[in-house]
Homo-oligomer: 363 residues x 2
DNA sequence: CTGAAAGCGCTTACAG
DNA sequence: CTGAAAGCGCTTACAG
């Protein structure tokens, strides 16, 4: 009898190879891949080990053909969020492939663009939208989402509403933690650069800063707060303003890394060393934080995980809708990390003296 | 006997529906769809009519599963290339979906990591590797590729060899164009910050700078060249060095944006305005170029298109290998753009005077 | 918690 | 020129 020639061209391992290697059925491997809970831990581990050792990657075509469950979600981003974008993509793509759904990535430069793109995606069968800042904070985008009834999930936003979920860190707690850290270093006059007023996070970070001051019995001083807009340039101006204050701060905490980097630049122009003369801390832990010198002590947001979580939320919502139910927009909080690098130190001895006076005379 | 429930969720027509409607077998429909010639004209017309009337569209997942034409390529990246990453992803994913191939994205932090990851991917059926700088410039990675015989394509690299293709701009021409631009502004003493010596682009950019100087009849002066390593910090030192030179340059051209941004910082510390006292130009057009103030005049690399081109090259090579032939690694050149922003201007009037003297006394 | 069977929609390899 | 069979690699639906 003639042997039929195999049709396989790739020599990639399949689910059956994994099953054989792990001593289970393909079905069990499938369950592990899809993260189903009804698999014994021991079985799961054996499967995972086999997957790892064989270097198995599920065949997407086979998965989507078999599941007949093709979900497509869109990822919308605009220019200013370029710092987040790569991480959002990495996390989003990873989770999308895990759910075996398709992620369509679209850029929209202007606000009008966003509207057009969103409309086109929805017409093209996209059932959910992932949005990143600053797009997610634009009123027009929010209206659009509200009106469209398309489920959406915003990354790095605390603003959840009816059909829109949000994933973020707790901006208030993060700013609180950073301020407390600066205080613990011995600083008593701590400047703050406020973020752009039309992003919700700005107010939360400001509140965290103020409350940490209060908790330590330090005065909340208007003169130590300067308005910025999350841009480097605005940070330049804010820092000028804060460092021109009589009895200037020994530390400045900026609401993002761009403005913190600008603060370092201004400090240097004035001949101040960072951190020995001035402590400067940022927020976000973008690439800039480790580009500038000294590298910035800042708050790290787990963007990759946030993107993953947003995809999860969205997929859950889309599936629920297919079953006829509509979930409320949910807000998921992830943990931040305070990353200490080279831009913070105790205050200089000279102001250390002033500090005690300030501490006593505080209102 | 209980009827098994159907698994079909979409109600789209299939190849069998078309076959039934046209009174032929699914096989014949398949031939028509694929434009094979061995079908009678009459049969073909009947099939085409059925396709038309049913509104049939082939299922892509089924096609790629059945055709066993599944190509998987891997995208390897390491931390320092974060600036490129989002664009590489956007371009790479787009082209991958166009070719109906799968793109697996993997991060590898250390050089050893790269080796492990690459090995795992290859074992996992990945038939081609896309690599980004600085991974593509690491000798160890290059050895690995040479040894493995896996086709690869490097983005933003001019270094093509046997099984590895490369896509890049012409670094020499770009540096030449930028230098010429600075000269055309009236500058005669132009400093240059050299890039890290183990990236090939560094030497090419340096050569472009020098040749543009020569073309204009300007001296190539060692004192105006400072060594950097593509990091902000190294740019700080290089700029200090260049600005300490007696009869200091009126313009500094840095081999990347990080070092250009550092040069701006040093200029500001010394009380020099950019661009009225000092012109500063960069290379790459990363996010940093538009973050700092003034925004940098720089060379833009079309990373998205480079990623697309790299995917094309790779897919072509993989297909060729399946047919038994091996293509030589090719090098594809894409156009760069000189983006003029706010960091360049004619030299200050004072040095304008010196310039003429310098021009005359040049060796 | 696990597996055997059937099937997703198409194409390859073979036989007429 | 055409078709019956087998198979791509996975998941659903069912049965234990």
């Amino acid at each position: 009898m003639k042997q039929r020639q195999s049709r396989r061209q790739r020599n990639a391992p399949t689910i059956s190879d994994v099953a054989r290697s792990a001593g289970v059925s393909p079905m069990t491997v499938s369950r592990v891949i899809n993260g189903e809970s009804n698999v014994r831990a021991k079985t799961r581990d054996a499967v995972l080990a086999a997957i790892e050792s064989l270097g198995y990657t599920p065949n997407r075509a086979a998965r989507s053909l078999a599941s007949a469950d093709q979900i497509i979600i869109g990822l919308l981003y605009s220019n200013p969020s370029a710092a987040y974008l790569s991480e959002v993509l990495v996390g989003g793509l990873e989770q999308a492939s895990r759910h075996n759904i398709q992620l369509v990535v679209e850029k929209c430069d202007t606000e009008e663009d966003a509207e057009t793109v969103a409309a086109r995606l929805m017409a093209g069968g996209v059932e959910g939208l992932l949005i990143t800042p600053p797009l997610s904070d634009q009123p027009r985008m929010q209206e659009l989402l509200r009106a469209s009834d398309t489920p959406a999930a915003a990354i790095a936003s605390e603003n959840a509403y009816n059909n829109t979920s949000a994933v973020s860190i707790d901006d208030y707690q993060a700013a609180f933690a950073m301020t407390r850290h600066i205080i613990s270093l011995g600083h008593r006059r701590i400047g703050f650069v406020i973020g752009d007023t039309n992003q919700i996070a700005s107010g939360r970070r400001l509140a965290g800063y103020r409350d940490a001051l209060r908790e330590a019995g330090l005065p909340v001083d208007d003169a130590l707060e300067a308005q910025g807009h999350f841009t480097y340039r605005s940070g330049l101006q804010a820092a000028e303003q804060l460092l021109a204050v009589e009895d200037r701060p020994t530390a400045i905490f900026a609401s993002n890394d761009d403005m913190a980097a600008a603060t370092v630049a201004i400090a240097h122009r004035r001949g101040l060393d960072v951190p020995s003369d001035l402590t400067v801390c940022g927020f976000d832990d973008t690439a800039l934080a480790t580009t500038v010198w000294p590298e910035l002590t800042t708050i790290h947001q787990p963007i990759i995980e946030m993107a993953r979580a947003a995809v999860d939320l969205l997929v859950e919502e889309v599936r629920a809708r297919r079953d006829g139910e509509v979930l409320e927009g949910r807000h998921q909080l992830l943990d931040f990390t305070l990353v200490q690098r080279q831009s913070d130190a105790p205050p200089p001895a000279e102001s250390d003296g002033k500090r005690r006076v300030g501490g006593t005379t505080s209102v």
